[in-house]
């Protein structure tokens, strides 16, 4: 029978230390810390102007004397980013500056998921509550020319297993191109309570036609041309109320 003595134990110990070094990428970590300072490493992790854009926020904080804690609007769905530049001493003071990250332009297309051919829901409407006032319109695209005046749209609060509540039924679809129909929804998102932030809708009387694409449009609350632009880098802005 195999006898284990201290030599074996020493060997196993060294092996375990080596495994720890390897699985933690110790040498890569060591080299990166040695070659890049803290700020550089932060930029490479969070991006400069893209996703969380922490690099841009830190850059603004260094370059400008920001007015209290500016409101930060990130059009990409990421964790809260205000932590990067928040000044706790001025936490409740109003600011006349706004930081826009990943700004998409005057109009926003809302992310949605297709449940079935004629059933859709808007993902996390709550995310858009500080970016839009209302859902303006929905555009349906079909593969080819299609004439249908009977289509209706049922708008619900709630999704999937949740109990759905019918908010309203709309029936005034109109044709905007050979294969596209549009409907004006004008749903004020600020009037929908937080717990109903999941919105779904169903399109009726499709006459067996498949919807190829759907676009849900909303007007951006922020039009940068109405503000004084203090700083701009690609899709990131620091703006001030005129």
């Amino acid at each position: 029978m195999l006898k284990i003595n201290n030599k074996y134990l020493k060997f196993i110990l060294l092996l375990f230390i080596l495994i720890l070094i390897l699985i933690t990428n110790f040498f890569d970590n060591f080299r990166n810390i040695y070659n890049n300072n803290f700020d550089k490493r932060i930029d490479s992790i969070y991006g400069f102007c893209g996703n969380e854009s922490i690099g841009y926020l830190k850059y603004l904080n260094k370059k400008y004397k920001l007015n209290n804690n500016p409101q930060i609007i990130n059009y990409k769905h990421t964790p809260n980013v205000s932590w990067a530049i928040i000044d706790p001493k001025k936490i409740k003071l109003p600011s006349n500056e706004i930081i826009l990250l990943n700004y998409p332009g005057k109009n926003i297309s809302l992310n949605h998921t297709r449940e079935a051919n004629n059933k859709f829901y808007i993902n996390n409407l709550h995310f858009y509550s500080d970016k839009i006032n209302k859902i303006d319109r929905i555009i349906l695209s079909f593969k080819s020319n299609f004439n249908n005046n009977d289509m209706t749209l049922d708008l619900y609060s709630g999704v999937g297993f949740e109990e759905k509540t019918l908010l309203k039924t709309l029936n005034h679809f109109y044709k905007i191109s050979k294969n596209e129909y549009q409907i004006d929804v004008n749903l004020n998102v600020n009037k929908i309570s937080l717990r109903d932030s999941r919105i779904s809708f169903k399109i009726n009387n499709l006459k067996n036609r498949e919807i190829q694409k759907i676009v849900i449009k909303a007007k951006n609350k922020f039009d940068v041309s109405n503000y004084e632009i203090i700083d701009n880098y690609e899709k990131c802005f620091l703006i001030r109320k005129k």
């Binding site: 006898k3 196993i12 110990l13 699985i23 110790f26 890569d28 810390i33 803290f38 964790p79 932590w83």
Partner: protein, 437 residues
């Protein structure tokens, strides 16, 4: 100064907080007393808690505090005639080596966790910027969790000359590695065997995400420590051990909301210890109640919300049978899934089950049986009676985003059981000549 050098320098500073205030050296052989290292850590965390409650910025006392502790350490070494140069530092080197390897992961990664960005980092920034606990009332997300973890983060972030954000989180790493060091080192006469266990557990448990500013790792570490103290509690040292368990309960209460439950669980386990007399049990319960209400009073004093968690009696009273059964079904599924993903949790529970029927190792299982029952009870009731409408979330979302961390925290308590089992079997093999002595 290079960041790598700073990481090396922060280690001895952290060590001060386990070497002081109680003398850790054994007069007879100048060896370090492992239990006293732990006592110091627990007492110091309580001292930090005390400071965190005062309307005093960190920088006003930080330097004096550290200087005083260094003085006490030097004085103790002098008093006990410890030759610091001739001492055997193998244990310490192993501890440092593991700390340094893992610290580099944190220093390189830097990404903060979701909850850290929402709660803990900003709270720690309050303390870092010289504000005090009363100012947290201005922070809208303050209500969800208490602040001790963030305060520790800020204290070690603000160390003069070092002053880097993640150094606060390195203290979490220090507590984590120390808690594992505490249960592994000296579990067996063979130091190599102890070191192997130590590194093996680090390999199993270490993940960067645990140190991304989330607080579970602190409760995890304190539960590991309490598991060993509760198991080894004997008549000789019981007074000190009871105080330490109460102190751990106090710390956990101030780290996270669910810390109160884990605090209550370790106190219940303490009450079932046969070495503790009735009078001592009564004092323990009274002390725990006092600590709990002290926290409530402090919350009220600073105008913090005491009942911010999503539980209300109305919801519990009117929960339908269908919803109740559906929730039980989902909790069971997700608990099973996350348990299977956590090797220590699944091993610990299986071992407990097996040992309950075939206890040949003579391991006392009462602590672990109690922990298992109370912990499972906690997990089910936490999700069953949670009014998710308040959080605007579904139960599935809630389970998906939080249960893994609860299973991880809970797994820590079983770790010592697994270690005792491995050690007993190692000793059995050794005594039977299969391993050379």
């Amino acid at each position: 100064m290079s960041e790598l050098l700073k990481i090396i320098l922060i280690f001895p500073l952290f060590l001060i907080f386990i070497y002081v205030p109680f003398p850790i050296f054994n007069k007879a052989n100048s060896e370090r007393k492992l239990s006293f290292l732990t006592y110091n850590l627990i007492i110091n965390c309580n001292i930090f808690l005390f400071f965190s409650l005062l309307p005093m910025p960190i920088k006003e006392y930080q330097n004096i505090f550290i200087f005083l502790y260094i003085l006490i350490f030097v004085y103790t070494a002098f008093l006990y005639k410890i030759n610091l140069i001739k001492k055997n530092y193998t244990d310490l080197f192993v501890f440092f080596l593991s700390f340094f390897i893992l610290a580099c992961v944190i220093a390189n990664n830097l990404n903060l966790g979701w909850d850290a960005k929402f709660f803990y980092y900003i709270k720690s920034l309050f303390f870092y910027e010289g504000l005090h606990v009363g100012d947290l009332v201005n922070f809208e997300n303050n209500k969800w969790h208490p602040h001790l973890g963030s305060y520790l983060w800020a204290f070690f972030w603000k160390i003069p000359l070092l002053d880097i954000e993640y150094f606060g989180r390195l203290f979490y790493l220090f507590i984590f590695t120390f808690s594992i060091y505490f249960v592994c080192i000296k579990i067996n006469k063979s130091s190599f065997f102890c070191y192997i266990l130590y590194f093996l557990i680090l390999i199993i448990f270490f993940q960067y995400e645990r140190f991304s500013g989330l607080q579970e790792i602190l409760i995890f570490s304190f539960l590991i420590i309490s598991s060993k103290i509760l198991y080894n509690l004997n008549i000789k040292s019981k007074f000190f051990d009871i105080i330490i368990i109460l102190s751990i309960a106090n710390i956990m209460m101030w780290i996270k909301s669910e810390g109160i439950i884990y605090s209550a669980i370790i106190i219940v386990i303490l009450l079932f210890n046969k070495n503790i007399q009735l009078k001592e049990k009564i004092y323990t319960v009274l002390s725990f109640i006092v600590l709990f209400f002290l926290k409530v009073l402090i919350f009220k004093y600073y105008n913090f919300e005491v009942d911010a968690q999503p539980y209300n009696l109305e919801y519990i009273k009117f929960i339908s049978l269908n919803e109740f059964l559906y929730k039980i079904y989902l909790i069971t599924i997700y608990l099973g899934y996350y348990s299977l993903k956590n090797i220590i949790f699944v091993l610990g529970v299986l071992l407990l089950l097996v040992l309950n029927f075939t206890n040949r190792n003579k391991i006392s299982l009462i602590n672990y049986n109690l922990f298992f029952i109370l912990n499972i009870g906690f997990i089910f009731s936490a999700y069953l009676f949670r009014d998710l409408d308040i959080l605007n979330a579904s139960i599935e979302y809630s389970l998906r985003t939080t249960l893994e961390r609860i299973v991880f925290t809970s797994s820590s308590f079983y770790l010592y059981l697994i270690l005792i089992f491995i050690n007993n079997n190692f000793n059995f093999l050794r005594n039977n000549g299969k391993i050379n002595k």
